[in-house]
Structure formats: structure tokens, C-alpha cells
């Protein structure tokens, strides 16, 4: 009975981290597709968001074999910092923060909207979805499996 319970918890926990890995992988390949295939040059803020999502794809993978509960400790800070950059970028896009305050050079403006999927989904928005999804899953994981 106890053994069964341990088994299911570990399965759920593994599933949570696996989903985190899926999100990170989607972000990794998605961003590479935007820059390398579609030729949208990443601006400075895009690079900062990449810096914090790329290692997550590796860290989650390592944490999956065998399931390491402390993976939360190492990945959550990265995801939170990344989310900060994503929100900042999104606010630039929407014009909430004026463009003159942003750190990019004129040629590669961070506020210039390059892509809108279905008319409203922008790249910083995707980034916010990815980071907050990962953070939410990690918080659930921590609450349930990390005493």
C-alpha cells in the first residue's frame, strides 16, 4: 500500500518535471526557428530570455534521470529571472515602458514587433507563457514533493 503510494507520487512528480522539460524544449527549438529559419534577429532582451531558458532544457533532462527533487532548487531561480526579462520585454512591446528607456541599439529595436501569430501572440508573450508555465509546475512539484 505504502509502496503503491510512493510509486504514484513519483510518477506524478516525474510527469511534472517532464512537462517542464517539454516547455523548455519547445522554447529552445521555437526560438531557434524564429532566429535561424525565419531570420528574425534576436534583440538584446531576447538574448537574456534565451540565456535563462536554454540551460533549463538541460537541467530538467538531468533531473529526470533519476527523478531528483532538488531540481527545483536549481531551476526555479532561472525561470523566475527569465520571467522578469519576459515581462519587461512584453511591457516594452505594449508601450507601457517607453522605448527610449530600453537598452537596444537603433538597428535592432526590442520594441519593434516582428511577429504576431494569429494577430496577437507575440514572441515575448510566448516567453511569458513558457516561463510562467514552468514556474507554476515547479511550485506544484515543490509543494507536493519537497518537504
Amino acid at each position: 500500500m505504502t509502496q503503491d503510494k510512493t510509486k504514484t507520487t513519483s510518477q506524478t512528480g516525474w510527469g511534472l518535471i517532464f512537462t517542464c522539460w517539454l516547455i523548455a524544449m519547445a522554447a529552445l527549438f521555437g526560438s531557434l526557428f524564429f532566429s535561424e529559419v525565419m531570420g528574425l534577429k534576436p534583440c538584446v532582451l531576447c538574448w537574456w530570455q534565451r540565456i535563462f531558458i536554454y540551460p533549463l532544457a538541460v537541467l530538467f533532462l538531468v533531473g529526470l534521470f533519476s527523478l531528483d527533487r532538488s531540481v527545483v532548487r536549481y531551476t526555479l531561480p532561472l525561470a523566475v529571472i527569465g520571467l522578469g526579462f519576459a515581462i519587461y520585454h512584453y511591457l516594452l512591446y505594449t508601450g507601457f515602458i517607453p522605448e527610449s528607456l530600453q537598452p537596444c541599439d537603433k538597428e535592432l529595436s526590442c520594441a519593434e514587433i516582428n511577429l504576431e501569430l494569429m494577430g496577437f501572440v507575440t514572441i515575448p508573450m510566448l516567453s511569458i507563457f513558457a516561463y510562467s508555465g514552468i514556474i507554476a509546475l515547479l511550485l506544484i512539484f515543490r509543494k507536493r514533493f519537497c518537504p
Binding site: 516525474w14 517532464f18 522539460w21 517539454l22 524544449m25 519547445a26 527549438f29 531557434l32 526557428f33 529559419v37 525565419m38 531570420g39 533532462l61 529526470l64 534521470f65 538597428e107
Partner: protein
Amino acid sequence: MKRNMIVTATAILFIVLFFLATAIYKKQSQSEQENASSINPEYIQRDYSPTTGPADAKVTIVEFFDPACGTCSAFYPFVKKLMKDNPGKVKLVLRYLPLHQNSGVVVQYFEAARLQGLFWQTLERAYQTRDAWIDHHVVRPEKFWLQLDGLGLDMEKLNKDVQSAEIIRRVKQDIQDAQQLNVNKTPGFFVNGKPLVYFGAQQLQQLVESEIAANY
């Protein structure tokens, strides 16, 4: 073990999806590019552009180039060789797409040199001396100017012509046409109006050869 498989399969799936999406995207942008040029073939070729090779050649390579672009410089001898290997069949039309900072000024110098009949010499000199007038991807027109010794250019006339309205208009037109054609990297090649979708020397050679086979 099962988890092992799930993760491996997912990773492979991601990679496959990426390449599949790449292939679909390239195909799509190719047809878009072809549509743009079928709407208006002028986007690809204007009558004012510098041209070399036999006038009656049935294969025309159009190259959008940036003098500060290292790949353009590396491709130049290759394109020349393609023309030499197929004597009388291939001509080259150059169009400007100065993407580097200040590169537009160098391009205007080319046009000014063209008025003195020294376009190709100036272009070749620019490619040979690239390192001397580009600092960290930024073009230094004043340093470029120093490289023009010994070409036989009338420098006074050159400096005057550089600012001519017609030259500025042509460069602007080239850049606009490149945008219409979705050419956003240099060199951007078209052979008889067909875009080179997968970039590479071998791919360019194949495209040129297939056009030669179709027209001769």
C-alpha cells in the same frame, strides 16, 4: 526504462518537427518570393543596374550584395568562375543591399566610380581591402576612400558625384526591391528570376546549370 524511451522519443520528435517546419517554411517563402517577382519582374531587375557578361546571354544571375559582407566577397570569384566556365551563356547583374552600418556610402562611391567607367575595378578593390575599411562590422567610408589610389579615378569628380540625387535614388530603389522580394541577407541570388532558396556555392552552381540546360 520506459521513461528513457519517452524522453528519447520526445527529443527526436522535437528535432524532426524542427526540420520539418524548416522545410515547410522554406518552401512557403520560396513560393512567396516567386509570386512577388511574377507580380513585378522589375523587383528583380532594373535597367540601371551594373551588368557584366555578354548582353545576349540567356542566363542572368542577379546578386543583391553588400560590399562589407564577407560572404559576398568570398562569392564574387566563384560567380566570376561560373561565368568563365560557361562562356557566353551567363551574365551578372549587381544590385545593392547595404545592410552594414555606413555601407550605403561605399555603394554610392561604386555608383560614382561607375560614371567614370571604373565600377568593377572599384568593386574588386573594395573586396580586396575589406579589412582596412571595416571596424567591427561598421564601415568607415573615410578609410574606404583611402583605398582607391591607383585606380585612375578623378577623386574630385567622385566626391561630387557621390551625393548625386540619381545615385541616391537608385540605391534606395534597390533596397526597396530587396524588401519586396524578402531578400534580407546578402548575397541574395536570383537566376533567371528564380530565387536561390538553399544558400550555398554548390546550390548556386546547380541552379545556374539547370537554367543553362533549360535555355541552350
